[in-house]
């Protein structure tokens, strides 16, 4: 993956060959600028590699057209962002329900699943609050519920705890871990945080755009 900024070409990733299996709880780690965000963006189809391909289940997403790719993300990938990125005019409940509406799910299915997910992240008493009425940790938990709502094959999270204090981080990680154990949800997340790294069962380390170690624990 090469970025062009002006006349300077930046090789953000090279020779990445990575397979993530269902049910894994993978941390992508590495120093700042090593290519973690770029890797996650490419896996999620938000960026396309200059060379190479990404295959999810049986689809080469690097060959999809814009709308097909958007639809693919809607149905197959859950996203959690560093800065929560909830829709500010929607309540917690509506934020979670949102993707299911885009998926044309039945009303009954939607409200049932929304409540179940908000309960799973411990926010059943906050469902009518808007993002600006919640703390960062709460917003990020809504974001986890939103990412799960569409029943994706896996969830991508780029530094999900970077903006959270240690207590909220721990709480969030516990929730993610529980979902991984109980529901077999696949998580791929990047992080700097050692305590977060410790919870992962697979750790992929990159440096200067190359994978330098890949260990399971």
């Amino acid at each position: 993956m090469t970025y062009q900024s002006g006349d300077i070409k930046v090789q953000a990733l090279q020779n990445i060959d990575l397979t993530i299996n269902p049910g894994e709880f993978t941390a992508i780690v590495g120093p700042s600028g090593s290519g973690k965000t770029t890797l996650l963006n490419i896996i999620g189809g938000l960026d396309s590699p200059t060379k190479g391909s990404v295959k999810i289940n049986d689809t080469y997403i690097t060959q999809l057209h814009e709308d097909e790719l958007i639809d693919f993300r809607l149905h197959n990938i859950g996203f959690i962002f560093q800065s929560y990125n909830l829709i500010p005019v929607l309540t917690a409940k509506e934020n979670v329900e949102f993707l299911m509406l885009l998926q044309n799910r039945e009303e009954e299915f939607r409200s049932e699943r929304t409540l179940k997910l908000l309960k799973a992240v411990g926010l059943e008493d906050q469902i009518y609050k808007r993002p600006n009425e919640m703390s960062g940790g709460q917003q990020q938990r809504v974001a986890v519920a939103r990412a799960l709502a569409s029943k994706p094959s896996f969830i991508l999270a780029d530094e999900p705890t970077a903006n959270l204090d240690s207590k909220s981080s721990e709480n969030l990680l516990n929730i993610m871990q529980k979902l991984n154990k109980n529901e077999k949800t696949t998580f791929i997340f990047s992080t700097h945080d050692q305590r977060v790294i410790n919870k992962a069962n697979r750790i992929v380390t990159i440096e200067d755009g190359k994978i330098i170690s890949d260990t399971s624990q």
Binding site: R73, I77, F79, F81, N85, I87, V89, L102, S150
Partner: protein, 402 residues
């Protein structure tokens, strides 16, 4: 859901939405008021001089307008067939000719206007301008004269004027007529040389029995163009000339055109201000939302849906602005239609000198509101094209890095 998002977005930044809607309201109010006043003034002007005095349409013997001689008269019965024309409300035949008027030692050239004093539309006009004496009565040979002429020739009601002129086909025309009333025809020029008598007396004087020099046509409704066309089709164009007010009064037509163009210019400035103020809002909004749009595309919302939401938002605001603007402006315009603005002081004098009533009633033509509303609405939509282009070009990673 799309509509809900649009609706909530409007309430998200209340102050900005209020400013946006207000500028739309203001533009609608201003443009509709201005156009209504302008068109109202023209309508009134036309109604007064054209409608009552000159007529929207006149028919003459061919060549009369260029050379106003008695020889260029037509037989009234040749136009009788027009009475069956459904686009026509009335025909008033008039005789118009020059003469030399004498009273004691004074002599002045005058224009003699012979009118059908029994016709309601003719009465309305002349009776309104009567400032002394009485109107023309049937069978009398009394005349009315302009107040300027009265002054110059030092005439009191009851005095008689002697007229001398060339009649039909070179005959000598002469007669003596008592002055029964003084009229103020508003224009100084008309006042100085106008003499009004009955159609019969004028025909007698000029020796043109059963003939007249101009036929004033009253169209059935405001669409005088239709009447003009219908008449022209029926008449032999080698014998008659059909003229509309724009041809007879090119200066007035020009005045209106220039004034309207001035109004259009002011409106263009107004529209530009509206465009820029809306564009400023849209620009800020697009920048602000860029991040959010990026997130939406990333998590799986198609750009077409985002575009629709943004369109709904614009539509809701511009429809609200246009409707509220119309709600504000229509009562005002209606009020000033029935209770017109009265000009006063110098303004009043100037306007009256030109022969216009010193009032400006607003026009109630619904087309004015409709066109202004559509223009403002279109501007809002066009300005929002920017947002649509912005959405089309969104790249989630770039948008979210900001």
């Amino acid at each position: 859901m799309e509509f809900k998002l649009a609706w909530r977005n409007i309430f998200r930044n209340k102050r900005r939405s209020i400013i946006t809607i207000s500028s739309i309201i203001f533009a609608v109010i201003f443009s509709v008021t201005m156009r209504s006043l302008q068109n109202g003034a023209y309508d009134n002007m036309l109604k007064n001089i054209v409608g009552n005095y000159l007529g929207y349409i006149q028919i003459h013997y061919k060549g009369f307008w260029k050379e106003k001689t008695i020889d260029n008269s037509y037989y009234i019965k040749d136009l009788d067939s027009l009475n069956n024309d459904p686009t026509l409300a009335y025909i008033n035949h008039r005789v118009e000719g020059f003469a030399l008027a004498s009273h004691e030692k004074e002599s002045k050239p005058v224009v003699i206007l012979g009118i059908n004093q029994t016709a309601k539309s003719e009465q309305a006009q002349i009776k309104n301008s009567l400032i002394d004496g009485s109107f023309l009565y049937n069978e009398s040979n009394g005349i009315l004269i302009g107040k300027g002429l009265q002054k110059i020739m030092n005439i009191t009601i009851g005095d008689s004027l002697i007229f001398l002129s060339q009649g039909f086909q070179g005959s000598i025309a002469s007669g003596i007529y008592p002055v029964v009333g003084i009229v103020d025809l508003k224009t100084p020029d008309l006042n100085k040389r106008s003499v009004i008598m009955s159609l019969n007396n004028a025909q007698d004087f000029f020796g043109i029995y059963h003939m007249a020099s101009s036929a004033i046509i009253g169209p059935k409704n405001e669409k005088w163009e239709k009447t003009e066309k219908s008449i022209s089709n029926q008449l032999d164009s080698s014998k008659f000339e059909v003229m509309n007010w724009q041809q007879m009064l090119p200066e007035l037509k020009q005045l209106i055109d220039v004034d309207r163009a001035g109004g259009t210019f002011v409106l263009i400035i107004l529209y530009s201000i509206l465009t820029f103020s809306l564009f400023g809002t849209v620009l800020m909004l697009a920048e602000e939302r860029n991040f959010e749009f990026g997130v939406l595309v990333a998590i799986g919302m198609r750009k077409s849906i985002i575009t629709r939401i943004s369109l709904y938002e614009t539509l809701i605001m511009s429809v609200a602005g246009v409707i509220l603007g119309l709600i504000c402006v229509i009562p005002v315009v209606t009020y000033f239609h029935f209770f017109p603005i009265n000009l006063s002081g110098q303004m009043q004098e100037v306007v009256e000198q030109f022969g216009f009533e010193a009032i400006i009633p607003t026009s109630l033509d619904p087309w004015i509101s409709l066109t202004q509303a559509i223009i403002v609405f279109t501007i809002t939509l066009v300005v929002n094209l920017y947002t649509l282009i912005k959405i089309k070009n969104i790249q989630p990673t770039k948008a979210m890095r900001a």
